[in-house]
Symmetry: D2
């Protein structure tokens, strides 16, 4: 409680990850929001755009300003892909800690990034420096980082689900499957026909079976866990919920692990000390709503009919642990705050 309030800047903040970040920061005991920039909404009070923040955030969006951001200790980018890479270097050089909630610094291989994001990268050298902000994998590096690439929503749910299996060399790495379902907020707050209420409600569909930007990001993470290249089939789906990702993961147990392994124990031990990963009792099926508005990842592991297939169920709130909450968790680590600071809200049920 003796922490001095951190001076915080947010670039962007008009999207869903943005408003979630503002909700968390406004309630964070050690943060003071100094500036929220938006070229398009400059002058609009934040609480006019997001009435849930009335009485809690008095700032208006301001025009982007290097000077104002440089006076912050931490700057979050809650912007479309391709924005942070233009400004982050300047801020890092000025001693500001930077957390990019978008994808600019997630993929180390620049050619791969450029292929999937369709543009030339503006600062490959900063990509090399950036730490991938999945605390359950990179906690110590995050503590020392000047710039953190906050993971994508699918990659968070999928990597946390596979991590114990891969770390302990339990499964056939040639045939991993991630069948993932996302709430509609994952598509952002852009005016588009396919995410209209009348298109997305009372409807379920797969998309991007032929390719999705999160595939290379997940692969990079799984490869690092495995220490070799893995093969993954990744099929994302859109489900008519606002928040939430449910990843259903399939992996074939290695011959030598089949009889001896107790998957339940493996998962419980692996995550025993993690504040934001909750391994459910054997036989459970996590609801996405059990993490709605919370920073938790809830996981259950199954081995149906005692066979050779492990089925892992991993749920997160895509806007919290899958975006803004994880960003705050990274900020806490980078700034020496308690890791759970400002992240202890209980999921809203029902």
């Amino acid at each position: 409680m003796a922490h001095k309030a951190l001076k915080i800047g947010v670039v962007g903040g008009t999207g869903y990850a943005g408003v979630e970040l503002l909700r968390l920061l406004a309630q964070h005991p050690h943060c003071e929001l100094k500036v929220i920039t938006s070229r398009q909404e400059a002058g609009t009070p934040v609480a006019v755009m997001f009435p849930n923040l009335r009485g809690r955030i008095d700032l208006a969006f301001s025009a982007p300003s290097d000077a104002a951001l440089k006076q912050c200790e931490v700057v979050f980018f809650a912007t479309p892909n391709g924005v942070a890479m233009q400004q982050a270097g300047m801020l890092v050089d000025a001693g500001v800690r930077v957390i990019d909630i978008a994808a600019d610094f997630r993929i180390k291989d620049i050619a791969t990034w450029e292929k999937w994001y369709g543009t030339k990268h503006a600062c490959p050298e900063l990509v090399a420096e950036a730490v991938y902000g999945l605390p359950e994998v990179n906690r110590e590096s995050i503590r020392r980082a000047r710039i953190v690439a906050n993971p994508g929503c699918y990659p968070t749910a999928v990597q946390l689900g596979f991590l114990p299996l891969i770390k302990h060399a339990m499964v056939d790495l040639e045939h991993l499957i991630a069948d993932a379902k996302s709430g509609v907020s994952g598509a952002g707050r852009k005016a588009e026909v396919h995410t209209l209420f009348c298109e997305a409600s009372d409807n379920f569909k797969a998309y991007g079976v032929t390719g999705h930007r999160h595939h290379p990001e997940i692969l990079q993470g799984l490869n690092l866990m495995a220490g070799r290249d893995v093969r993954l089939t990744f099929v994302p789906h859109l489900t008519p919920i606002i928040r939430g990702i449910h990843a259903t993961l399939y992996a074939r147990l290695q011959c030598n692990s089949r009889d001896s392994v107790d998957l339940q124990q493996l998962y419980e031990r692996h995550y025993a000390n993690e504040p934001f990963v909750d391994v459910l009792p054997a036989g459970s099926h996590p609801d996405t709503r059990s993490v709605r508005g919370s920073n938790l990842c809830r996981i259950a592991v199954h081995r149906p009919h005692g066979g050779d297939v492990a089925v892992v169920l991993s749920v997160i709130d895509n806007l919290t642990k899958g975006a803004a909450g994880q960003a705050v968790q990274n900020m806490n680590l980078m700034c020496g705050l308690p890791e759970t600071s400002g992240l202890e809200q209980i999921a809203l049920v029902p």
Copy 2:
């Protein structure tokens, strides 16, 4: 921060108002949950029934026990109607402060109560003592109360919406209309066909046009405000949202108020010092989601085409300001805590 933790008991707690109350109490800085009783679920850990509470509430439901409840300083009844009236007297006599979230103590006229709730009242004398827990009307009495009748959800939204108009004698009291819409959680967590997902989703309907239990409760409150009998047409509807009430209120302005009155100013002044009533700027339309999971009532007032009809839009979260949140607000008042203690969560949007 110097407050000692209050010892809290909850009777019931397996319904939606119950889980909301537990969510709020688990995060309340000055409360310690000592006992949660449920005859039916005795022995079940609370977090098994409500996984969002895993790691936050370690208690199991216990069999009802007078002894355990008497050791609490505050006991909430989050039970079906007709339960609290059996036990409240004993607790009040033992010096425990009691808050009934159900309807047993809301209606002063026992015959009316018995007509609408279909059973004989077990302790009319306690009804006479109980304070109606709408802090915006009865704050000082609540501070001194031994037993509080927590208002219903519709009555909260409707009374707060009409209050300034009636208090200032602005409207024709013979022709008040409340067209109210409730989320489905208002019907509770009972297994019933009409609130199944496949019945209630993608559907909208009115119900109870011929009579609803909240009608006499609202009337009692409006009569007290007006100092005379008023006439109210009340039509509740079911809308496919989980949480939220939207009351659309219609009142005819008195001849002598039509020209001079500034309704916007009237509402802003009336509620200027209320921590949980937020009067929106002129021309606004409050979303129910802007109060989702928060204890706020957000209100907008209109006078369409400058005519003689005032239209008031009043929204609350039926489980928070309409039930558990208001109950905690009442507890704060009864126990000398800051009124907003534990009730400052920002609404979850989107």
Copy 3:
């Protein structure tokens, strides 16, 4: 069954009223779709945009063409407001029957239309000729019409609800109230933020309290019924359902009607011969889903507590009876087909 297939053209057809119209026409026993125009989508097969029509409509959208439309016997405009008025005259002159599902010909007073629709009207003389396509009011005129202005969705539900009360001079015409709730498809298939799934689902709100385009349209209709000017407060709301309107109507019974009138009988008799108005038994509450995908208006009438207020509940599917279905009903009348032809689908429940 001896009817020759009518040659049909559709201008527009890429919105929700459009796809509903195509669904109905593709199943209509006496229609042959000849041309569907869309400037923007020219060349796209209709069934690529709307996969539910695969195998049922083989046409592609074509560029607007006067020649192709003139070869049709009936042309529907399922376009944004302001398009039909540019082309309808030419088609009417060529002997084509025209039905405008948009608003160009609904309001007789040109100044009022221009005020609400924000543009100069291109053919006031055709407005004078156009018949307002509410068959329950104007059936015989529709049979003889060359051009029909298909009513708006709110106006259909509200006018059918008030009609018997006003026709029989039962109510105070100075204080009519229509509290109406619409599904999100009423806002159309435009890419806009406020109708995104994450904005509109799990949320309820009023809008347009200060003014809505359907207000003058409803007033015009009620005035004609009453033979004098009436006063109406109209408050539309957005409810998270795809299809459906629920209008809750309030009217004060005239002193002299209070004792004698049997509202139930009044409604049943008034609508006894209407194929698409179904008066429910006394005490009923119609679900919007009970008319989902059907051309019916279902109505219940109440007099709460035997008082002086009549409450009418009126539901339609905004895309069917509130748009495309009523347009087909009008076509049937104009072309001498059985009025119910192609409109007998049973509502989809659940």
Copy 4:
């Protein structure tokens, strides 16, 4: 049109498959509903329970009566599991064609059936005779059947999805995966907490990972296709839509098929003559809503990144092709009617 109307009886009919069956039969050109039985609802007019059927079905539910059912030509059982096996024998003996929409006759191995359905089977000999009613596999046997076991919803979507791959020996039969998502109506119209609106909406979860009744039914079907035992991991999920199943199927291509096979062509050819299976163009992702209320199964087949995994997306309406619609299709076949008779409704979009 020269067909004489078939006399139809329905046993049960108060659940969701029941009301869907009634909707289809009421619109079927060659059927006459003679009797609808329900012990519990005897005397209630069908249209009082299901107002969407007002004016279309005038029957009331009647008490079960062998005599009345024996006068029918076709009897559908839309009952809970375990009812049809008590009565079907008597009807078959009386020359009535029987279609069981429940599970009593689906599984040939009686011990397996008894294990999963938890009761002793009442007429194993009729199980042996019953034809599994998947027309795309058993069309000719269905034509000659006296009794048809209508397939489950998941089994329909999964079997139609895998059929071409297995029939043409394309895939590793040891590692089939079916990740299936169902709308909530699949759980039926029973009053249960877990399918309440407030439990199932804005939520997504897996269930039954450790075992589901449809697993042995699917296995039986796949084994017959393959001519040997296959191994299948089946994970069902609950998604907040009313109607619809989306099965995402994963299968490993055999080494020798990888280079040469054109999966798109394989599927298109296999289903070229099927009236109710629609293979979408390469690269497609079928929406569940594209089959809402229709009897179609829409399928897309993918081979992500040209690898060795085939991904099949298969959607049906669980109440139509997955229950009542397929039952009518079976009736059409059994009775010599056109297979598509009464089943040509276009899916309701939006």
